[in-house]
């Protein structure tokens, strides 16, 4: 079973919910792992304190041109969707930071003088935190290609009965890549105009991708009821409501799990998980479903 935690708006509590669910599941003997796919700013490790056992580079393909054989036809530049290669007479300029590694340039070069090599864009690290399996991706500073790294984090992760995916904020390509193949996405939001607006974007995105979702209302006692009305109208289940409790913020700031430091919240997270299970579409297995969307 694969469950992702996303939000649209940043700072709503995706990681908080994900790591506490992981903790609750592990304590009840579930084979659970957490994948931190917020590769630009992975922070789940701050709460789980995993032991890292392995680390592999994440790479994308990059073209290399044997310029001395270039005829200057410009086919590579013409076909590049990302403006990552340009030809001036017979000088070929490659911009690796724009290249998505699609290989079109190498495929269509009439002289067959473009080859591809691997370029490291970050690392994938794995290990365990107590009984919780842990994998995270870290994108190198200055790199922009989060989606291929997220994809590689998911591919490198071992199999587990329950896989929890902590997504990046936003609604663009990195999130799409992170939620691809999920059985359900938990949308962590807050009942403020900003939280509400981004929730509508993310809910619409998931509807388009045909991935079921439910909502966790964090800081539920602030803001207004716009978010609740939206959930009712769209038929989105409310999975949990987390109050605006100063002690939760204190736990977060110290990197401590709520389900450890504030045992009265354990039931809330256990119920949240029960509702996730109840909200899963029944038997028809959702494996092999392809996501949509192509480029970041």
């Amino acid at each position: 079973m694969k469950i992702a935690f996303a939000s649209g708006k940043g700072g709503t509590g995706k990681t908080t919910v994900a790591v506490n669910i992981a903790n609750i599941l592990q304590q009840t003997g579930v084979d659970v792992q957490l994948l931190d796919c917020d590769v630009e700013e992975p922070n789940a490790h701050l709460f789980l304190l995993p032991r890292i056992d392995w680390s592999v580079p994440a790479t994308v393909r990059r073209p290399e041109v044997a310029e001395e054989h270039c005829t200057g036809c410009g086919v590579c530049a013409e076909f590049c969707e990302y403006n990552a290669i340009t030809v001036l007479k017979t000088t070929v300029l490659v911009f690796p930071e724009l290249c998505h590694g699609c290989g079109v340039c190498a495929e269509f070069c009439p002289e067959r003088i473009i080859t591809e090599s691997d370029r490291a864009i970050g690392v994938i690290e794995g290990g365990a935190a107590g009984g919780i399996g842990f994998v995270q991706g870290r994108l190198n500073v200055g790199e922009v290609l989060a989606p291929p790294l997220i994809n590689q984090v998911k591919e490198k992760a071992p199999a587990a009965a329950v896989t929890l995916v902590d997504c990046p904020p936003g609604t663009s390509c990195p999130v799409i890549e992170a939620v691809r193949g999920m059985d359900l996405v938990v949308l962590v939001s807050e009942p403020t105009p900003f939280g509400f607006y981004d929730l509508t974007l993310m809910a619409t995105t998931l509807k388009t991708l045909d991935i079921p979702s439910g909502v966790v209302v964090n800081r539920c006692d602030i803001g207004n009821d716009e978010l609740y009305r939206f959930c009712r109208r769209e038929g989105l289940p409310i999975l949990a409501e987390i109050p605006h409790d100063r002690r939760i913020a204190e736990c977060y700031s110290r990197g401590v799990l709520i389900t450890e430091a504030l045992p009265e919240y354990r039931e809330l997270f256990a119920d949240l998980w029960k509702r996730v299970i109840d909200s899963l579409p029944s038997p028809p297995d959702r494996e092999g479903r392809e996501g949509t969307g192509t480029s970041p």
Partner: protein
């Protein structure tokens, strides 16, 4: 000698556009006769990324040897340099129109751009 100038509209007396890659228009001026032609930069203005690269390739394709603009980013700079285009920086506080920029360049008043003047904008 052809001089490319970034402008908001196609014309000799039109205001300068401070941007290079996403400039509205390129006015290409013949240094001797002052005759000009203009090319709209529509496709690059809407490009998700690599606007500067494509814009640089476009003005090189039009045989410009000099560029007058407010800013040149790192990728555009690399292409322009490879294409042998010399770049000079306009200042909208001192030059308002394409004509002003060309006149200031002829008087040697424009600072030559020898490194990118701004950071890249690709996300």
């Amino acid at each position: 000698m052809k001089i490319a100038v970034t402008a908001q509209k196609p014309g000799w007396t039109e205001p300068l556009d401070n941007r290079f890659g996403r400039a509205a228009w390129f006015v290409i001026v013949d240094g001797e006769t002052k005759k000009w032609t203009a090319a709209e930069n529509l496709q690059n203005r809407q490009a998700a990324q690599g606007a500067g690269i494509q814009a640089a390739a476009a003005i090189i394709d039009r045989q410009a040897q000099v560029l007058l603009s407010g800013n040149v980013g790192p990728k555009a700079f690399r292409v322009l340099q490879a294409g042998g285009v010399r770049m000079y920086r306009t200042d909208t506080a001192k030059q308002r129109t394409v004509a002003d920029a060309v006149a200031a360049w002829e008087r040697g008043e424009l600072e030559e751009i020898t490194a990118a003047t701004t950071e890249g904008h690709s996300i």
